[in-house]
């Protein structure tokens, strides 16, 4: 733990890079040290693309097995300009966001009830664990029969897959609240509502956000699983369609789009975390 005495000198320079040319150094010094690792991302991506190209050239694979990066890129530009990609991406994103909203609200509400009442947890948790032991892939066709071929069935698949990790994290987070702080709040005569907003939510927040990180990545999987069963739009549908047409470059494009959606959602949670938990950073 750093004590306040050490904190009085916040301008200690952080040296992370060394041995670079003077100009590069000057440029880098304008970027805070903790972001330097991100600068390696573009060259790393370039290396990955080169290796991919090399693999295609050495193995001389036909395009329908492994398309070269350039072919995939051309397909990407094409799908982007004719609107195909945006149409399907929008459909998937809609399912993901609605599914997240549904899954998150159900999981946090039930998590709060379970954290407060052991008997409710004992009564209901067998059903929840049972529902989680059924593979979502096996459950999805049933959900499509019940909720139709449209967006709703995908939203529900998505919500179901998000539900469990968020539920568990909500329970763990709320139960980890310091008992002494609860006593302290009681001694001030805090109402139930104050206990919730001033103590329980902020105390559980780090664990809740951890659950959200798992949830947003799973939500993309949920939407694709739903689209695989029956759909007429969405990135999962696009993958399925392209497979039937042996259009492997388009499959790659759809997969990359899914990755971009998942990364953006995850990045959004990280930004939220940095904002809400800024007290944890030592500047």
């Amino acid at each position: 733990m750093r004590t306040a005495q050490e904190m009085t000198d916040p301008l200690t320079p952080v040296e992370t890079m060394s041995g670079n040319a003077g100009t590069l150094r000057k440029g880098l010094s304008r970027i805070p040290g903790k972001y330097h690792a991100y600068l390696l991302a573009p060259p790393a991506l370039l290396v990955f693309l080169c290796l991919w190209q090399l693999l295609v050239m050495l193995g001389s694979y036909p395009t329908f097995i492994l398309p070269a990066p350039a072919i995939v890129f051309r397909k990407f530009v094409l799908a982007l300009t004719d609107g195909t990609l945006l149409h399907h991406a929008r459909a998937t994103l809609r399912e993901v966001l609605l599914g997240l909203a549904l899954g998150l609200s159900a999981a946090t509400c039930l998590g709060y009830i379970f954290a407060k009442s052991k008997s409710m947890e004992r009564l209901l948790s067998p059903y929840i664990v049972a529902s989680q032991s059924i593979p979502i892939v096996a459950l999805a066709p049933l959900l499509v029969i019940w909720f139709g071929f449209g967006t709703l069935s995908k939203v529900i698949v998505c919500a179901l897959i998000v539900f469990f990790p968020v539920l568990i994290n909500t329970i763990v987070g709320l139960r980890s609240v310091d008992e002494n702080l609860v006593d302290l709040m009681r001694s001030y005569g805090a109402t139930r509502r104050q206990m919730f907003t001033m103590l329980e939510i902020p105390a559980a927040l780090p664990v809740l956000l951890g659950g959200l990180k798992i949830g947003v990545t799973l939500s993309v999987i949920g939407a694709v699983v739903g689209e695989f069963v029956a759909a007429d739009e969405g990135l999962g549908f696009l993958v399925n369609l392209s497979r039937g047409l042996f259009d492997t470059p388009m499959m790659f494009v759809a997969l990359f789009a899914l990755v971009i959606i998942a990364l953006s959602l995850y990045g959004g949670v990280v930004l939220l975390e940095n904002r809400l938990l800024s007290w944890r950073r030592i500047e």
């Binding site: 702080l181 001030y188 007290w279």
Partner: protein, 253 residues
């Protein structure tokens, strides 16, 4: 001045356990007058913390009753302040916001309350640290924040549960001196649980000695050492006598 502010009569407390009921407190009676500093010493596990929680209304006694200012105590009251062994600060709140927490809960927000919190931070020697977060402070500084917080809503009574138990001996001695200074400035009624005999005598007007389980008040000792006190008092002959009395009393319990 000799107005009894906190009284307990015939307080019993029993805890259920796997081997049947365990009696934690038996027939505890005590009276603390306004402005008095009372220490409560006893071996660990004698129910000191349980007693403090009952006196503060956080826990109900099985039998007997607690009165504050003549009123029976059934739930926590706002005129009682707590200081626990750990600073028990909210890590997501700044030092200042931790200190104003009691006021915020009681719906008293405003500029004059911020000023009051800053005054108290000055009293505990933490001016200039108000915007830091608890994890940026040392253990002793965190406990000072807890003291400032316990004083901010002007409780008449302070209940302290081994407040310096987790600090090293040097910091602890400093905090004892600080506490005396603060007590002098505010003249709160203080009941402090400790398991250090020296600390109990050094601070208090009166030392209550508790017996091991089931805990009850074994003896009461008046500390008639002169005030204001400083570290010199440890070399006082009367201090040594009192120390032996307390120790023998605990040994006999």
């Amino acid at each position: 001045m000799n107005h009894p502010i906190l009284t307990a009569e015939g307080v019993d407390k029993t805890y259920p356990s796997r081997e049947g009921d365990v009696s934690a407190l038996r027939d505890i009676s005590l009276t603390i007058t306004e402005g008095e500093f009372v220490s409560l010493v006893g071996p660990s596990g004698c129910g000191k913390t349980t007693l403090l929680r009952i006196l503060g209304g956080l826990l109900q006694a099985d039998r007997g009753g607690v009165h504050i200012d003549g009123q029976i105590l059934t739930e926590p009251r706002r005129d009682i302040g707590f200081i626990f062994q750990d600073p028990t600060l909210m890590p997501w709140r700044s030092v200042l916001k931790n200190v104003t927490l009691p006021l915020e809960v009681q719906g008293r927000n405003g500029h004059e309350h911020r000023k009051r919190a800053m005054e108290l931070l000055g009293l505990v020697g933490l001016l200039g640290f108000e915007n830091l977060h608890p994890h940026e402070l040392s253990g002793g500084m965190q406990q000072r924040v807890a003291i400032a917080r316990a004083l901010v809503h002007e409780p008449a009574i302070l209940l302290m549960d081994e407040p310096f138990g987790s600090l090293d001996a040097i910091t602890r001695n400093q905090m004892n001196l600080e506490l005396l200074r603060i007590w002098n400035a505010t003249r709160k009624t203080i009941l402090m649980v400790t398991h250090t005999i020296q600390e109990a005598i050094f601070l208090a007007d009166r030392v209550l000695i508790m017996s091991p389980r089931p805990g009850h008040i074994q003896a009461t000792l008046e500390v008639d050492l002169p005030r204001p006190r400083d570290n010199e008092i440890y070399y006082n002959e009367d201090f040594a006598k009192l120390y032996h009395l307390v120790r023998d009393s605990i040994a006999a319990a």
